[in-house]
Symmetry: D2
Subunit: 358 residues, 4 copies
């Protein structure tokens, strides 16, 4: 069972890449919220391919249609359902290789889990396309959080081995996050962006792919949000981040680097200024004992390179049970990190909203 | 709300470090399971301090008392509750510094979340002591998994900057995991162990602390366990790993390193041998599309250095709202990684059992 | 938050009577199930109005469209979503009386809960129309149960004060339940049916409405299904039965009558026959300690009379806050019991399937 | 899995009648609540036997010990656990009849569900004793509700066929509920009480037992609490009422009687007085569309007669699989309705608190 998350607000996703439609139900939203549909649209277009030469040539229409829960421009408080019709489906792209297991894809695992009955076309329910409804839900969550002054943003921290700076975890400015949100390739450093894009194009030419890391931040969270143990901020947000296909690592604050520090170095010492309690450093990423302390939440998400590469790969034929090879056809992104940025923000927004409203 | 996790089996924890007792209820266990109480005892002693000079001098008795759910040597199938009485509590250690916020601890965040009503003594509900019931539950989970041939183990990957090798993610042997489980300081390499322990002692002398990374593995999981999206293996296990105090990073397979790889390098190509489908490499850590593929699950958990250090630190006095300093008294581990090893295994066991039984 | 139920299988409903569509997502179905779409269609038509003079003249099309989770004639095991487009909506019927609180309807309570933002047209999310997706889900559940030999059926026990016999709770035959399922007005006794229909028509002429009781049965459940306390068979099924609009009472076995019995009379004594343990009587309705004992589950559901009557009624004008009267226009069923029969069966099916699969 | 209920606040029960202890964890309580422990004690003593000749001679000590979640006289906001030690256990009472199925008890169903591994002594986990922790939790819930002005009370509506009046569902006074709470045998009419007690004693002499109905009420709930469909007030409260052992029927408002009414008779017409919207009648029991409308919530719970009677009954011997008879020894209440009153109130309190806080 894959598709239901949440306690205060419950999210239920559905859909296969080549089925009739994909979508999501959001149950538990407060009533009376003005949804800025144009802004939601912009969020979803940050994810959609077909925009530039870095991404696929496919032309996915991610136009969502609201089915319920929205009346006279505001949320009703009843379950809000959106549907995104599927189109532009070259089903024949997938028929030939139906029984060949694409390495690093979920062909094999999906086949076993669903006993061979899953819709394999275009990745079926495993398709990255299913992140579109998540971005919608995240966009709604972001708007509710924004009303409370809470801002979420991110940037591409690295593509392959090309890295740019971390966020200044003490002092992330809202304007920076806004500027990043408006960039097609969101980095803080323009030169690094060029190098990263270069790297992606090189991979494309070599019929290969490349991964990367997205760094996210949540600003202006009041202290006291979250719980120790099972409902910690880290548990809640990571469970959503790891729901995103292709994610293999999540860290908060100084993350894995904190394990190399001494306590005297890692501990974030407190001070008070104008009645506000802050810390000089923020290696804990704004979270202590699973609960926010008022400092910016910072986290990083590691994405593996796109599994679909045109190079010939060794594999197994599922029916004949023979070793063989595969050359994946079709049009695939050499790097999904750029498209993953709004999905990372959506996941973080959904997670932190759950805790804020609890 | 912190203490309830799970769907098929529900785990509810309770307790404060200086309250009457701490414990856990496990609801949903199959009936008729022979619990090896001695083995559970051994698991819990892996966690308990007072054993050697690396750990604290405190003498916590972690003797659990079964209250229900266990009759004539077997689980009844009804809720199983254990209680661990608290003792050896030097409450006066904490009274003096009640209003001083210990850096990197949950004093501040707990105070805000619980509006000042939390039991602050010894960390209260935030105390690392609350991991004892989790280790109990994990020990039970491990026994049920073992009956199905599924084995969980781990080793200390690094202490500070001193690292030992990764597990061989293609070919981890059960005997290796068993040997590690019987070591007080579980590493694969004895010399590295000596260097690591040395590092810890140095920190102790300098009144400082140090962090580290634990690497875990789950063997013999059949393919097909888990789900895409919200109930992926990564989501499920990470939500429990991030429940452990002091964890700031979780990664699976090649983890953050996978983001630096090309697809041709990262993709785990399939082959079939004796009717079993395997992969030549295992950068995906045994998980594809959130579902197991039959290869070993490998993951890493990053622990921050113990927050309690004797060095003087800047902080805030909560009542007077003034900047001041604190020198933490009492007896504290310079490194908790060694003690965290069984907790990491417990978390992984609880998580994977949930998915296996779903 | 209204729309999510379940643990093993999760059901999420959405929709307003006059929104774009209504529907449901069923998440957690086993894969590979042959869904008999024609049978599901028949179930849904048992509920749909416009069939005879007893019911409304409205012509609701309850044609469902499967969006996901179904491929090549079988369930995929991924979330199954259906959508039912709304049509035939006379929105103007509702505009005039928008601020008049219809007695016994959810106009007032929905207005308060959703702070006035709910879609009031046609009852919005409160519309009995939302039971159509529930009947779909129940039809799917029934098919899965039928595969296991478990049969669910029901009959109209009473309309107003006109009653027919109870089921023979010791010996309900599958053929009886099948015959009832094929009747438009399902009673065991034809004469009683005529009297009941007569009663309904009389009410219609008097611009009034009437209630009734549906009695349901579940056959061939093995013993051992359910749990004591929170997940008892009664708790699980009643929580779904009371989800049906207009339900005000639920009882199992001898129900409220059992409270008048002595123990010597009420106790169902055991006997064994051909290796099967049975009871001579079945006042406990097949459930002991919240768990099935192998005897038929019998239960009753009380429906209040349709709130919408044409007679003038006293009420309040919501905006002006004045006492006034209302005469409800439009086309309304004088009795919904006949239509509720498949909804009762659906609710029971969903509930018992959850427990069977747990 | 029986023991976990709730969303906003989670309740986990544990315990067997003859195990070490029974208890409950309440997770999600707000912090800083002054718990009146004496009042909780009084609630629990309303349930405890050994008080008069109507009830059993057993002397259960239901003294609860708080293990966590309570500090300096107030809730901490962390999980609150109480334990009630078991004592006064005549385990030998049960050894002789271990394999005889007591009619109307859960011996058989528990045996099947738990594959014979359940603790059968004294009913084990099925023991009515497990309602003691529920009364504790209900007492806490009642205090929180009281702070918000919401009052819960009840009376014995009937014992066998001896009935007293219903509550005046329009105009239930708080003083009446308080007076009833202080009565050992809570009825509104003293003469009826005498007749009822007489009936109970007659049954006791005849070695038989008798059932009854408890009617409950919830006052001062604001309108707007609850949801349509799955989280309706009726669904939520009934799921808890049906968790109470021996309950076979639950109804709200006019309940089953409403099914006999016409719409013109059943509909509760609205009026406004001093700015408050009320209804002239209250056949809907204060709930419309699953949501409160501000009128008193009234409901009824039907209890079957105590299964344990001394008369000889037919049964089956589980091991030899033979038809035989049983004469139940030991000390048993001829009627549990009197003791069930605080349990009914506890269930209603827990249920409505969940909705109030959602």
């Amino acid at each position: 069972m894959s598709g239901v998350w949440g306690n205060k607000i419950k999210y239920s996703i559905f859909g296969e890449s080549h089925g009739k439609s994909i979508g999501i139900i959001i149950d538990g939203l407060p009533s009376g919220i003005d949804l800025d549909l144009e802004e939601i649209d912009r969020e979803m277009r940050r994810r959609a391919p077909g925009k530039n030469k870095l991404t696929t040539a496919r032309n996915e229409k991610d136009e969502f249609e609201i089915q319920s829960g929205y009346f006279n421009g505001k949320t009703t408080g009843t379950p809000l359902c959106i549907m995104i019709k599927n189109s532009d489906q070259h089903s024949r792209d997938y028929e030939k290789t139906k029984n060949l297991l694409r390495p690093a894809h979920a062909d094999y695992t999906g086949f076993i889990k669903y006993s061979g009955f899953n819709d394999y076309r275009g990745g079926g329910h495993f398709s990255g396309r299913l992140t579109a409804p998540i971005v919608f839900a995240g966009a709604v969550a972001k708007q509710i959080l924004r009303e409370k002054g809470i801002i979420i943003g991110s940037h591409i921290k690295s593509i392959g081995s090309i890295e740019e700076d971390y966020f200044d975890d003490i002092n992330i400015k809202e304007e920076l996050l806004n500027r990043l949100a408006n960039k097609e390739f969101p980095t803080m450093d323009e030169e690094k962006a060029l190098k990263m894009k270069d790297e992606i194009l090189k991979c494309k030419e070599k019929m290969d792919s490349i991964g990367g890391v997205v760094e996210g931040a949540i600003l202006n969270l009041p202290p006291g949000i979250g719980s120790p143990f099972f409902n910690s901020v880290e548990s809640t947000i990571s469970s959503l981040l790891f729901s995103i296909p292709a994610v293999k690592g999540v860290e908060f604050g100084a993350g894995f680097n904190i394990s190399k520090m001494k306590g005297s170095e890692a501990n974030d010492e407190f001070y008070i200024e104008d009645g506000n309690i802050k810390t000089y450093t923020n290696n804990n990423g704004g979270i202590l004992g699973g609960i926010t302390n008022g400092m910016p939440i910072v986290f990083r998400v590691a994405f593996k390179p796109t599994p679909s590469i045109a190079k010939e790969q060794k594999t197994v034929e599922l029916v004949s049970k023979e070793n063989t090879t595969i050359k994946i056809q079709g049009r695939h992104d050499p790097c999904i990190v750029q498209r993953a940025v709004p999905i990372v923000e959506a996941a973080a927004a959904i997670g932190i909203l759950e805790l804020v409203l609890s």
